[in-house]
């Protein structure tokens, strides 16, 4: 029962977020989105069509996809590391993806690269960073420790940040100006084809995880418990790390370095519906999408017509949550 109600509420929040994001604009309320346009697009004027098809529409979809991807990545990482503090941003996975993209653009290996190349490069960086952190965080007996994760994340993040600063300092500032903005985290323009492909990937990731949900639930029982139901922990960890890197890379390639979405959302979801991965997965995806969309809309409107990088907002929301979680963890350990 509680499950059904929470799904309902989550979807209502999602619809509400979409309606707000589509309906609110920066231009003193002059461009109002009206659902009626959808049915008479041929009669809409150019401004209205632009709002729907180019300015707000794709941005809303991009925010939804990135939010869902980051929340799922966070949930997955938290599940397989058995640690509520895991998040693609905190663990340096996004940093790795970011560094890869900055190196790629800075060295200009492929000038004028297509939109599909950035995500591939980001995926490479994310995977490398993810495995580096997991390797660093292994304590005795191969168990991933909290301390190891946090420290590993700090080290990888610091390393990536330093190399990115180096690239930005070394190379022509104009050449990498896009990159500088992008590092702050912000949803920018994406063509419909890209959104379609990314959407298909995010959906596939959701489907895959949904089918593996029982394994992840078993994994949560711990090594022995997992083994008793026939789950190969090592393989599951490896696959999950890859999938989390993949989801984080999607986030980075569409929205830059955006933190804390993957941290806040799964935590809130677990508070409400418990630890069953089957439920938390879908709810995290839906709520992550809504949260990022609301944050992006706020970033668009707070100082309109000026635009803020949405990463600033997610960090402002996320840091207190991180502090509370960290505090609870440390207390629990004592």
């Amino acid at each position: 029962m509680r499950g059904k109600v929470s799904y309902l509420i989550a979807f209502i929040i999602l619809l509400l977020a979409c309606w707000l994001a589509m309906g609110l604009g920066s231009h003193q309320g002059q461009i109002r989105f009206d659902a009626a346009w959808l049915f008479q697009l041929d009669q809409a004027d150019e401004l209205q069509r632009n709002v729907l098809l180019i300015w707000r529409g794709p941005r809303v979809i991009a925010a939804l996809l990135v939010g869902a991807a980051l929340a799922m990545a966070g949930l997955l990482l938290q599940g397989v590391t058995r640690n509520p503090l895991a998040d693609p941003y905190l663990l340096g996975i996004s940093g790795g993806a970011g560094l890869a993209v900055v190196l790629f653009r800075g060295l200009a290996i492929f000038q004028g690269a297509d939109w599909w190349l950035t995500p591939i490069v980001a995926l490479l960086g994310a995977t490398l960073a993810n495995f580096a952190v997991l390797y660093l965080s292994r304590g005795s007996g191969g168990r991933v420790t909290v301390l190891g994760l946090i420290l590993g994340g700090v080290v990888i993040n610091a390393f990536c940040a330093a190399l990115m600063s180096f690239m930005l300092a070394r190379f022509d500032p104009f050449h990498l100006r896009v990159t500088t903005l992008w590092l702050a985290g912000g949803i920018s323009f994406a063509p419909w084809t890209q959104l379609l492909v990314v959407g298909a990937f995010v959906f596939a990731a959701w489907l895959y995880l949904r089918m593996r949900a029982h394994q992840l639930n078993a994994f949560a029982l711990g090594g022995a418990g997992a083994k008793s139901v026939g789950v190969d922990s090592e393989r599951l960890l490896l696959r999950s790390a890859l999938l989390a890197s993949f989801l984080a890379a999607i986030g980075v390639s569409l929205a830059g370095l955006l933190g804390y979405v993957g941290l806040i959302v799964p935590h809130v979801v677990r508070l409400v519906v418990g630890r069953d991965f089957r439920r938390t997965l879908t709810l995290s995806a839906v709520l992550g999408a809504s949260l990022l969309l609301l944050a992006d809309t706020a970033a668009r409107l707070a100082f309109a017509p000026e635009e803020l990088p949405v990463g600033v907002l997610t960090a402002i929301m996320g840091c207190p949550v991180l502090l509370i979680l960290l505090r609870a963890q440390l207390k629990g350990k004592r």
Binding site: L47, R59, G186, S188, E306, E307
Partner: protein, 312 residues
């Protein structure tokens, strides 16, 4: 009716400002009568003293380099910043990064004067500690450009020429602006960086280019921003229906052609060529140097077709 009244008040205020500043010139420069020594106050409010006019000058902003050439001291520039590109002969002068200065590198050119525009106090202190005179100018208005010209002229011993240049700059701007105020104000969109076409960087209140737009009888699309430079929502840009676009070019191939490729920008991409200020003319509007008059002229011609070909 009210509109006309406002316009008259605006023109009046502009004129008052100019006349007020005319007397400011000389106060900024207190050239000592005994010998050649010169003393000025720069935009940071710091006193800059030279025992005799500067012979070897390091100029680290495009506007300072242009001013030095305009007052006839161009051949004394021993080091410039990478962005300086006018007049063409500056290409032969050694170049360095104007933002990340190395005091040691600069000192290696044994200059007696360093001119900056992006003030970084710790680096200025480092240069001063080496006994090098440093003056920083960051003009944000036509008036301040004129002051900058006079001060730089004084420092390199071309005070008379600089005063003449500043006076001409003022009267040219005044005449052009008076012409332009007679027409209806049109919206002008300035693009500084459009890498993210959903939220391009533009200029707002307090920027040099917004003042030029007002003087040219236009209205800046970014006038509601809270800062001189910020990212603006594309919806605001298109919905304010700009009739003139100023596109600063940061890499070859940008400009009007790029607008045409951007989805949702047809309104701006379909502006007639005469209503777009781009290529080499755009930096004239964002660079606070002596050529701002040419930039203002280009903007007025783009804004007021009635004046095309008749602007002096």
């Amino acid at each position: 009716m009210l509109y006309n009244f406002q316009r008259t008040v605006l023109v009046g205020l502009l004129l008052v400002q100019f006349t007020a500043c005319r007397s400011n010139d000389r106060s900024a420069v207190r050239a000592q009568s005994n010998g050649e020594s010169v003393q000025i106050v720069d935009d940071l409010g710091q006193q800059v003293k030279l025992a005799k006019p500067a012979r070897r000058i390091v100029a680290l902003s495009p506007s300072n380099v242009e001013i030095l050439f305009a007052v006839g001291c161009g051949e004394r520039v021993v080091l410039r910043d990478k962005l300086s590109n006018y007049p063409p002969q500056v290409e032969k002068i050694d170049a360095t990064d104007g933002f990340r200065l190395s005091a040691e590198h600069i000192a290696g050119y044994s200059p007696d004067l360093v001119l900056l525009s992006h003030a970084d106090l710790s680096r200025i202190a480092a240069l001063r500690a080496l006994g090098i005179a440093v003056a920083s100018f960051d003009p944000r208005s036509v008036q301040q450009v004129a002051r900058n010209i006079v001060a730089v002229g004084a420092l390199c011993g071309a005070r008379k020429k600089a005063l003449g240049l500043a006076a001409k700059l003022r009267s040219d701007v005044q005449n052009l602006s008076r012409m332009a105020q007679a027409f209806q104000r049109k919206m002008v969109y300035v693009e500084l960086d459009g890498s993210d076409p959903l939220k391009p960087w533009t200029a707002g209140p307090g920027s040099f280019v917004q003042q030029l737009i007002n003087l040219a009888g236009g209205k800046n699309v970014g006038h509601r921003l809270s800062r001189p430079y910020a990212q603006i929502s594309v919806e605001e840009v298109i919905a304010s229906k700009p009739q003139v676009a100023v596109l600063t070019v940061s890499k070859p191939g940008s400009g009007k052609e790029v607008l045409a490729k951007r989805p949702g920008w047809t309104l701006l991409a379909s502006l007639p060529r005469e209503q777009v200020v781009d290529d080499s003319r755009a930096p004239l509007l964002t660079r606070p140097g002596p050529r701002l008059v040419q930039g203002l002229r280009a903007l007025i011609e783009a804004l007021h077709p009635q004046l095309r070909g008749r602007v002096p």
